[in-house]
Symmetry: C2
Subunit: 138 residues, 2 copies
């Protein structure tokens, strides 16, 4: 078991065991997690716990900007990740559904020129689709 304390706690959110665990789990996740995946992790250390609590806490974190909710094309579940100062995009495999983080963001530098009509840009979401190395070989 790893030490779970986070350096700082987001303002305006009451600290509980479950929520500490939630942030820890997301912080160490290699990919965005669904509510049920987060719940499964919490249950290991903090039973009892309920899915509805996870959803309610997610809602709080999202409202504070700590967590970002992603809805991936052709996935029915929503997934969640920590809001990072340097955001990531993912390549999603149509074969195995795995998500591969990408470092490069092609949108950043060309955004301003894209938007006319007084649209005030606050952020963006980009997903790449295709087949990962394993799935494309089959």
């Amino acid at each position: 078991m790893i030490h779970e304390n986070l350096e700082s706690w987001p303002a305006g959110i009451i600290k509980t065991k479950h929520r500490e665990r939630m942030l820890f789990v997301l912080k160490n996740a290699a990919k965005p997690l669904s509510a049920m995946e987060i719940w499964a992790e919490i249950k290991k250390n903090n039973p009892p716990s309920s899915l509805s609590t996870v959803y309610r806490s997610l809602e709080q974190f999202i409202k504070k900007g700590v967590i970002t909710k992603l809805t991936i094309m052709n996935h029915e579940l929503a997934v969640y990740e920590l809001t990072r100062s340097q955001h990531k995009h993912y390549a999603v495999c149509w074969g195995c559904q795995k998500m591969f983080p990408m470092e490069y963001c092609p949108v950043e530098q060309s955004l301003p020129e894209m938007i006319g009509d007084g649209f005030q840009v606050k952020g963006h979401n980009l997903e790449i689709y295709g087949y990962c190395r394993e799935c494309s070989q089959q």
Copy 2:
């Protein structure tokens, strides 16, 4: 009422009144439509009709590549649009939820260099978020 015949009918899909109407509706839509919005349009001309038929036909069209399903961040509904040779992206307003089509795609030219690890790119999805002119003035 406008003449509704489409120039060509997608191969491998049985032609019915409902489905002709579905494509017509999507062809003339200014934005991607949800299944329920499509259903509402169909009902005007072809009652009776049912939502489940719309979903089943959408599935067929998607499988043939005629229609593309989009899942927009922070919208709970999926929306659908005709698959166009020149794809579009949308700016989604956090205020009024309206979707504004954008002509420019910043991803196209820089895609190849982004993907390592043998990931075979088949497509992408990009959404811009923010506030439209009306909503940002409030």
